[in-house]
C-alpha cells in the first residue's frame, strides 16, 4: 500500500478569522530556520521509511508565503530522500494573493502537478466576513499563471454557511467556480472553532440557520455535480480522475507521514504527531505517540465519508472477517429514510445522510 507525505508550512501573511490551523506570521529568519528543521526531519524520515509514496501534499498555513526558493529546496530534498512513484500527485496549497509568475513557474519546475487555492466565496462581503484578503480577480489570475506554467490540475475551496450567505449569493459563487473550469472543489461548512476571532464575535454574526445551511449544502452539491464535478467525499467534488489522492489516503485509512508542527502521521499502524509548537519542531523534538490506529471502527468511520461507501469486500480484505449483520440491519432503517443506500455488500451515505453523518456513522460503527 502506497503512503502519502504531508508537509506543513505553518506560516501565513495574516490569519483568517475562522481558521484554527496552526500557523504564524513570520520573517525570513524564522522561515530559514524552519527550512533547516524541515530538511533535517526529511532526511531523518527518508532514512527511516521503507514506504513508497504516491502523494506529496504541502499544506498550511499558506505554503506560498514560504516562497518559491524554499519550496523548491524542500521538494528537491523530498525527491532525494523518499521513494516516490513516477506519477506521484504533488499538491501545494496557495493563497491567490501570494501567487506570482515566478512562484508558479518554480513550482512547476519543482515537480508540483496540482494546486489547491483558497477562495471560499466569490462574494466580496462574504470573504470580508471571513477576514479573507484575496480577491476574485487574484484567484482568476493565479489560475491562469499556474495553467501557463503547466500545472492544470487545480482545486478551489468553497465555504458554506458564511455569515450573510443566501442561496442567491451561493449561486454567484457556484457560477464563478464553473467559469474557472477547475477539476476539483472542496466545499466545507463553516464551523466556528472556539479559538478563532470569528467565534469571539459570533453573537454579532448573521449566520444562516440550520435549515438554510442544509439547503446551501445540497444546492452546492447538486450544482457542482451538474457541472461534472462528482461528489466523492462529504465535502469534496472532482471530475473523475482528479480526486485528491492525498486526502483519499486519510479516508481509505491508508498510511501517511506528516512533517511539521501539528502534522499527524499514521505509519506502521501507529498514529503520532508533532506538537503544535514551532519552537519544539525547530529544536527537532521527536513526534508524540497518539494511539494505535486503523482499527475496524476507524476504517468504517473513514470509508463511510466517501460516496463509494464501505464495502464488505474491502472490510474483509483488511480484517479477514465480514461486516456484522447488525450493521446492515441498522443501515436498512436509515435507508428507509433516504440517508444511505445499502445492498448486500456496500453501505454508502446519500447527501442527506452526509448532513447527519455523525449520527449515522456513529450508529453504524456501534454495531461492530
Amino acid at each position: 500500500m502506497n503512503a502519502g507525505l504531508y508537509l506543513h508550512i505553518p506560516f501565513c501573511l495574516s490569519k483568517c478569522d475562522y481558521c484554527d490551523f496552526y500557523s504564524l506570521c513570520a520573517n525570513d529568519d524564522t522561515m530559514d530556520a524552519y527550512l533547516a528543521a524541515l530538511k533535517k526531519a526529511l532526511r531523518f524520515w527518508g532514512s527511516q521509511s521503507a514506504d513508497t509514496f504516491d502523494t506529496v501534499y504541502v499544506g498550511g498555513g499558506t505554503p506560498s508565503v514560504f516562497g518559491a526558493g524554499r519550496l523548491t529546496e524542500t521538494l528537491d530534498l523530498v525527491r532525494r530522500s523518499f521513494r516516490l512513484t513516477t506519477d506521484a500527485q504533488i499538491t501545494v496549497e496557495c493563497n491567490p494573493s501570494s501567487v506570482t509568475k515566478e512562484l508558479a513557474d518554480a513550482l512547476s519546475v519543482a515537480g508540483v502537478n496540482r494546486v489547491s487555492l483558497g477562495l471560499q466565496s466569490a462574494v466580496a462581503a462574504e470573504r470580508a466576513a471571513l477576514g479573507r484578503r484575496s480577491t476574485v480577480r487574484q484567484a482568476e489570475t493565479a489560475l491562469t499563471l499556474f495553467r501557463n506554467a503547466g500545472i492544470d490540475d487545480l482545486s478551489l475551496d468553497l465555504m458554506l454557511g458564511i455569515p450573510g450567505q443566501t442561496p442567491q449569493s451561493l449561486r454567484e459563487s457556484l457560477r464563478f467556480l464553473e467559469g474557472t473550469g477547475v477539476q476539483h472543489v472542496s466545499a466545507y461548512l463553516l464551523k466556528l472553532e472556539e479559538t478563532t476571532p470569528l467565534f469571539a464575535r459570533r453573537a454579532t454574526l448573521s449566520l444562516p440557520d440550520e435549515d438554510t445551511v442544509c439547503d446551501l449544502y445540497l444546492q452546492a452539491a447538486n450544482a457542482l455535480e451538474q457541472t461534472g464535478l462528482r461528489q466523492y467525499e462529504i465535502s469534496n467534488f472532482a471530475v473523475p480522475g482528479f480526486e485528491s489522492r492525498h486526502n483519499l489516503h486519510y479516508w481509505l485509512c491508508e498510511p501517511y507521514l506528516g512533517i511539521g508542527p501539528a502534522a499527524h502521521s499514521f505509519l506502521g499502524g501507529r498514529r503520532f504527531y508533532y506538537p503544535r509548537d514551532l519552537r519544539s519542531f525547530l529544536q527537532s523534538d521527536a513526534p508524540v505517540f497518539d494511539c494505535i490506529g486503523g482499527d475496524k471502527a476507524e476504517f468504517c468511520m473513514l470509508r463511510l465519508r466517501l460516496t463509494r461507501g464501505l464495502s464488505d469486500a474491502a472490510f474483509y480484505a483488511r480484517f479477514g472477517e465480514h461486516l456484522p449483520k447488525e450493521m446492515f440491519t441498522a443501515a436498512k432503517a436509515f435507508a428507509r429514510h433516504g440517508l444511505l443506500t445499502a445492498d448486500g455488500d456496500t453501505i454508502a451515505l446519500t447527501k442527506n445522510g452526509f448532513l447527519v453523518s455523525n449520527g449515522v456513522i456513529g450508529k453504524l460503527i456501534s454495531t461492530l
Partner: protein, 519 residues
C-alpha cells in the same frame, strides 16, 4: 396517610403517646389524624411543642391552637428544640408523670403483640413485641398464633436509643425484642400474637387489619443487566417492609422488571429512592396506577392495576375507581386555590370547618388516581408550602375511564400507557404529546408521537428529523478526535431506551409522570 397503619400498630403497643406540634406550622393534617388514632386506642397524650429555635416559632399561639382544637391542656406542655436539645429533659419528666403504668399480669399465659420486625444478617428476624400478659425468657419455646410457627427463644431484651440490651425475662407490660433464629419476616407477621408452646393462650390479641397495596407501578432497571440486582434489592427491602409487594413483569418497551405495590405515593417514592440510593440502581418507573374494578359484560369483575391488562373496551360493562376522603388543612387565605385544585382533580366538596380563625379544614372526596401523580407537589406550590394533606380510602365509585396508549413511530410503548377519566383524557393526551416532543431529542428521521384510545388517535405531535449534526472536515489530524467523538456519542446513547427505531431518554418517562400543570 400511607403510614397510618404503621402509626396505628405502634400505638396499640402503648399506654400513651407524645404529640409533637411544630412551633411555627401549628396543627397540620397529620397532627389531627394521629391524635384521632391515639384517642381510638385510649392513649394518654403528652403535647410537646417542638422547633422553638426557628425564627418563625410562636409557641404561645400554637399552644392556644392545640387547646382550642384538640382540647389538650398545654399549660405544662414542654417547649423544646429537638435540634439544640433545649428542654428535652422536660419531655421525659412529663412521660413519667402523665402516662399511666401498664396494667400487667405476669401469671397469665403469654400474649405478646408483634408490632414490628426487622431483619438482621447475624441474628435473623428481630421481633418487636409488647407483652400484654405473661412472661418470656431465652430457652423457652414460643409459638406464633396466626402462623403456628414455633421457635426456641435465643435472646430477649429491651430497645435502647442506640442499642439492644439483652435481659433475663420480658414481663407483662414491657416492650422489648425477641430473637429466635427466625429466617424470614413472613414468619413473624406484624399483628400476630406470640404465646408459649407450654401453657398457650387460648385467644390471640385483636391484632391489626391486613394492609393492601393501593398504588402500583412498574419498576425496571435502566440497564437490563441490573435485573438480578434489582430483584435482590426488592427482596431485601421487603424483609423489613411487608407492605411492599412485587412480582416479575415484562414490558415490550422496558424488558424485564417488577410490578410493585405500595401503600401510597409517599411509600412508592421512599422505596424508589432507597433502591437508587442504597442499592445504586438506575431505574425507570412507569406511571403509577391504582386498582380499578372493571365489570365485564359477562358479569365478572377484574381488578386491574396495570394499564397493560386493561380489558377490551367492547367487553366492559362499567368501571369503578377507588375514592378517598381527603382533608386539607391550610391558612384560610388559600381556600380558593385549594378548591380550584380539588375541583380540577374531580373532587366532590364535602364540607369546610374553621379550626381556628385563620386555619381551615377542607374536606373533599377525591379519586385516588387524581392524587397519586403530583397532587401533593401542586398543593404545596399553590399554598407556598402551608397546606397539609391527609386521606383515607373511602371505597369504590363508578367512573367513566379510558386507557390511553402512547405510540412512537407507530409502535405502542406499553410502559407509557395509563388509565384516566374520560373528561381528562383529551387534555392529558395533548399535554403528554407535547412533553414527549420536548424530551425526545431530534433523531435521524421524523418521529410521529400519537396518543390513542384504542385505535383512535386523540393527540399527535411530531419530533422533526434532525437535518444536520456536526459536519466537519476530517484530515489526518482529525481522525483520533473524530473517533473519540463518535464513541462518546455511543456512551450517551446508553442512557437512552431503544424502542424499535426510536431512542427515548429516561427523562421521557418522568416527563409523563410529572405533568405539573403550572409549567
Amino acid at each position: 396517610m400511607d403510614f397510618n397503619y404503621e402509626v396505628s400498630r405502634s400505638l396499640a403497643a402503648c399506654e400513651g403517646a407524645v404529640l409533637i406540634i411544630d412551633a411555627s406550622q401549628g396543627i397540620e393534617a397529620q397532627t389531627l389524624a394521629n391524635t384521632y388514632l391515639a384517642l381510638d386506642h385510649n392513649l394518654e397524650l403528652v403535647p410537646v411543642i417542638n422547633k422553638i429555635d426557628l425564627p418563625a416559632a410562636d409557641p404561645d399561639r400554637v399552644a392556644a391552637e392545640v387547646e382550642d382544637v384538640i382540647g389538650l391542656d398545654c399549660s405544662v406542655a414542654p417547649r423544646v428544640s429537638a435540634k439544640t436539645g433545649e428542654n428535652v429533659e422536660q419531655v421525659l419528666e412529663r412521660i413519667v408523670e402523665d402516662i399511666p403504668a401498664p396494667e400487667a399480669n405476669d401469671d397469665a399465659p403469654l400474649r405478646a403483640l408483634i408490632f414490628d420486625s426487622i431483619y438482621d444478617n447475624y441474628k435473623g428476624v428481630i421481633v418487636y413485641v409488647r407483652v400484654m400478659e405473661g412472661t418470656l425468657k431465652a430457652g423457652e419455646t414460643m409459638r406464633m398464633m396466626a402462623t403456628g410457627a414455633e421457635f426456641t427463644v435465643v435472646e430477649v431484651g429491651y430497645m435502647r436509643a442506640q442499642s439492644m440490651e439483652p435481659c433475663d425475662v420480658l414481663s407483662a407490660g414491657e416492650v422489648g425484642y425477641i430473637t429466635a433464629s427466625i429466617k424470614t419476616v413472613r414468619d413473624a407477621k406484624v399483628g400476630d400474637t406470640v404465646t408459649k408452646v407450654q401453657r398457650p393462650a387460648s385467644e390471640p390479641l385483636p391484632g391489626y387489619r391486613k394492609v393492601n397495596p393501593m398504588v402500583f407501578c412498574g419498576i425496571y432497571p435502566a440497564d437490563g443487566a441490573d435485573y438480578e440486582a434489582l430483584r435482590d434489592a426488592l427482596e431485601k427491602l421487603q424483609l423489613n417492609d411487608a407492605s411492599l409487594s412485587y412480582e416479575p413483569e415484562t414490558s415490550g418497551a422496558l424488558g424485564f422488571g417488577f410490578r410493585c405495590g405500595f401503600l401510597g405515593l409517599l411509600h412508592l417514592e421512599i422505596i424508589q429512592e432507597r433502591l437508587e440510593r442504597e442499592y445504586l440502581l438506575d431505574l425507570v418507573t412507569t406511571v403509577p396506577s391504582v386498582i380499578y374494578k372493571i365489570h365485564l359484560r359477562d358479569g365478572s369483575v377484574v381488578e386491574v392495576d396495570n394499564p397493560t391488562h386493561y380489558p377490551d373496551p367492547a367487553d366492559i360493562d362499567f368501571a369503578e375507581e377507588p375514592i378517598t376522603n381527603a382533608h386539607i388543612y391550610a391558612p384560610a387565605d388559600y381556600v380558593g386555590a385549594i378548591m380550584d385544585l380539588c375541583q380540577d382533580r374531580r373532587g366532590v366538596f364535602k364540607d369546610m370547618t374553621y379550626i381556628t380563625k385563620e386555619r381551615v379544614d377542607i374536606h373533599y372526596e377525591l379519586p385516588l388516581n387524581e392524587i397519586i401523580y403530583d397532587f401533593f407537589d401542586v398543593l404545596k406550590s399553590r399554598t407556598r408550602g402551608y397546606a397539609s394533606f391527609d386521606y383515607e380510602m373511602a371505597g369504590y365509585q363508578r367512573s367513566n375511564l379510558q386507557k390511553l396508549d402512547v405510540l412512537l413511530n407507530g409502535d405502542m410503548i406499553d410502559a407509557l400507557s395509563f388509565i384516566i377519566h374520560n373528561d381528562k383524557a383529551m387534555a392529558r393526551a395533548r399535554r403528554i404529546a407535547e412533553r414527549l416532543k420536548e424530551t425526545i431529542p431530534r433523531q435521524m428521521f421524523e418521529i410521529p408521537i400519537q396518543i390513542a384510545i384504542g385505535s383512535k388517535v386523540i393527540a399527535r405531535e411530531t419530533v422533526r428529523a434532525m437535518r444536520k449534526d456536526v459536519l466537519a472536515k476530517c484530515y489526518g489530524g482529525d481522525i483520533t478526535r473524530k473517533k473519540k467523538l463518535l464513541e462518546k456519542q455511543k456512551e450517551g446513547k446508553k442512557r437512552m431506551r431503544q424502542f424499535g427505531t426510536v431512542e427515548v431518554p429516561q427523562e421521557a418517562f418522568m416527563a409523563v409522570l410529572k405533568l405539573d400543570e403550572n409549567t
